[in-house]
Amino acid sequence: MEFNNPAENNVFDRAKVIGQPLRRIDGPLKVSGTAPYAYERHDAVPGQAYGYPVGSAIAKGRITNIDTSAAEAAPGVLGIVTTLEHDPIENLWDYDPVRHFGGDEILHYHQAVAVVVAETFEQARAAANLLDITYERDESANFDLSKTPQASGDSDADPVQNVGDFESAFASAAVKLDQTYTTPAESHSMMEPHATIAAWDGDKVTLWTSNQMIEWGRQSIAKAFDIAPDNVRLDSPYLGGGFGAKLFVRSDAVMAGLAARKVGRPVKVTLPRPMVFNNTTHRGETIQHIRIGADENGKITAIGHHNATNALTAVGGENATLPIVAFYAGANRHIVNAPAKMHLPNSNAMRAPGETAGLMAFEIAMDEMAEKLGMDPVEFRIANDTQVDPGNPDVPFSDRHFVECLERGAETFGWSNRNTAPGATRDGAWMIGHGVAGAYRPAPVQKSGARVVLEPDGTLRVESDMTDIGTGSYTVMAQTAAEVMGLTIDDVSIDLGDSNYPVSAGSGGQWGAASATAGVYAACVALREQIAERLAVAEGDLTFEDGAVRHGDTSTPLSQIGKGEEIAAEDSIEFGDFRSKEALVSTFGAHFVEVAVHAHTGEIRIRRMLAVCDSGRILNPLTARSQVIGAMTMGVGGAIMEEMAVDHRHGFFVNHDLAGYEVPVHLDIPSQEVIFLETTDPYSTPLKAKGVGELGLCGVAAAIANGVYNATGVRVRDYPVTLDKIIGQLPAV
């Protein structure tokens, strides 16, 4: 099915099943511990051996020798694969051009250099430590972003947006801001570390793994092992989170495959948690130079944004400019993204890549500008709303209700009651502040397919390689199928994550739910057409409801259509370019927070949070809300604690475990409220839906930073906003 025009009134507008706050259909498995994750597939294949990986002890240089003799002699050891045995296995996917294994060259700390396979986990782990590895260290590498030319804030990299005459407009602006902001490297830190079981059958390989993008992974594994894609099967029905860390295959999958081939047995490999931080990917650091000019009335006339970020490869870095090009009005714009090649591990997508760091910085800048202008920060943002792409004013936003997000939020939150004077509100020992920030993220989609099977008993089975990383794919896809086929969700069963099923959009870029449900719709329409054919009527004349198909006065239960046989249909949704040519399809939001800062110690705690989201049709308000509160929680982490600290001498992230890299815990998270505007976006998908899981993270950290400013009068421009950065400016005690 091609989606070449904006959606019209359609089956989803009846919203009997879609849009309902149904409980997750995979819930009983998850709460009982019976949903199977990658490392747990004991049933998948017999004879699994344990592989334990070894990461490089240096950040840059090469390995001259690996003596495996001690490890080979250790109890239970079945085999050892070292990087020196293989040519580099790298560039497996265009968006992830890194080296996973192979060769003598070390490009980053904890690069995988060996995997030791043994009968038991304990034996493999012990033997892995017996490898005798000789390194030659290259000490010429720079690991400090602030020491790169890009960090100067005005490099001559080609602008991603250059509209009007920024320099003149900024120079002549009545009110100006010129500041630099920094955001640190962040770790996805999903709860399930990367893990894979690999088993070979001749030249065919199956990987039970934890991967967000099954087809990308299948192609990547085929390239890694130099076999045809059809000889690769990936199965990933449950993922313990990903947030972008599992968009691409990682070294666990490559090592499991290599090791299984070498020892002639299935091998399972998981990355030890302390290896995850430096072996895999992260959100890159940024140094952002922001200049904003406005007239006396608060209309922005000039936006300058220069983003420096660390990247090991050409595809890497946190492109903080992404939201800046389109979020706010402003006729003169000069926006530059400047990745700096550094031998830290490669940075790549982490939830709302680009928007997160970009809005962490820019939404503080907006707060600062509002203050300079003497405007309420909500009013300032409203004043600079745009209904067209500011870089290409002929292209309108398809459906943008940012102003309504701000207004609804301000009203619900009681924004007008706040004390606008910084550092002037106390609750005992705590200084109280309120902050706001805007949220913006595009709403991309990807081609997505599914297969639907009408069973002889009238129930429906859905199959797709789509993944559920906690987003609720199982549930919203089942809801979609139920809606289109006139069933209840209890009539629908669904299997996901297997590359034997039709290729879907996968989970990433907040395109998953919107695309995959559209794919299910396409498959269901194909099924409806088959049913119409069997009934010898036009599909458009049929009504599917209550488990039956009605034509005129005739109603036929779905269980009777196939006459004892199943009826299968498969199709994909393909999105036409009208979606990007005629309109800008994006999602919008506003975050409001109340923070408390201890007047003595500077401890920062969040007291309440509100998000208002404009994301088109909400497919399931229960799971969508969970996406947003989860993103708000991650935003708290980014605001006040998360930082992968770089050792500039050794070139690695030092705090590489979950004790050193702090993410929010229960006590950090207060009451959270989420409001979804009742919008639909016909330009987006046949369901008029857009993603929301990444939008929820955008701007959260800045709202908190702005709240800390309001509480204390201390403006912190370097994340995370921790007490050491404010304690020197707190009131005397």
Binding site: R23, R24, P28, K30, V31, S32, G33, T34, P36, Y39, E40, H42, I58, T64, D67, A70, A71, A74, P75, T120, F121, E122, A126, N129, L130, L131, D132, T134, Y135, E136, R137, E139, H188, M190, M191, E192, Y238, G240, G241, G242, P272, R273, G470, T471, G472, T623, R625, S626, I629, G630, A631, T633, L658, A659, V663, V665, H666, L667, I669, Q672
Partner: protein, 222 residues
């Protein structure tokens, strides 16, 4: 380029290769709590010792008696997940930093990753599988579904085991970091629940919903 081999040029660089290798250090015998000492690291030496490095242990898991032979190094977590193939208990960090491996031992919740299986002779262990099944859910499991107290589901078994223990610990009057008066009775306030659940990290950020689920069960018990 600077060449290094098991110690390199300066002492400072020693550990750059040493740690990933079998480099031996001649440490004196030292006392408990002091520096690490070198274990025999040759494969041959270990093979000779192999039998003495395993133990048999008997304990009860979810009401079923289990007698298993384990490597002394096997954690309770790996005994559950790998030896007994009870994979409901999750490994998130293997270092006591996330709580995904939470189980109950003799009625108290612990991190099963930081305890050896061999240390649990005669103990009664309850994992998520012992609380309820998809067809016969424990009220806490049902409440997590009702309130969407999860997303990816990986931390969920640990959250549920901790949630159950949290209400029990409050009822037992065990104080917490947020207890205002540690000599008085303890109310199951939101912050009491949040604090006691803080050893279970949920990166999906379902905390608010988990709190709602726990309060729901608390209300049922009241």
């Amino acid at each position: 380029m600077k060449r290094e081999h098991n110690g390199g040029i300066t002492r400072r660089d020693l550990m750059i290769v040493g740690a990933a290798t079998a480099a031996t250090y001649a440490f004196p015998k030292v006392a408990y709590g002091q520096a690490n000492v070198e274990a025999p690291a040759s494969g041959e030496a270990l093979k000779a010792l192999d039998a003495s490095l395993k133990s048999e242990v008997s304990f009860t898991v979810n009401g079923t008696a289990r007698d298993i032979a384990v490597d002394n190094r096997t954690t309770l977590l790996d005994a559950l997940r790998e030896t007994l193939q009870l994979t409901g208990t999750k490994k998130g960090c293997d270092h006591g930093q996330c709580g995904a491996c939470t189980v109950s031992v003799n009625g108290r919740r612990i991190n099963s990753c930081l305890t050896l299986a061999v240390m649990h002779q005669d103990d009664e262990i309850t994992s998520i599988e012992g609380l309820g099944t998809p067809d016969d859910l424990h009220p806490m499991q049902a409440a997590f579904i009702e309130h969407d107290g999860y997303q990816c589901g990986y931390c969920t078994p640990g959250q549920i085991c901790s949630a159950k223990a949290t209400l029990e610990e409050i009822r037992a009057g065990i104080p917490s970091h947020v207890t205002a008066d540690i000599t008085g009775p303890i109310e199951a306030s939101d912050d009491e629940i949040r604090e006691r659940m803080s050893g279970n990290i949920c990166r999906c950020g379902a905390y608010s919903n988990i709190l709602a689920a726990i309060k729901d069960v608390k209300g049922q018990n009241a």
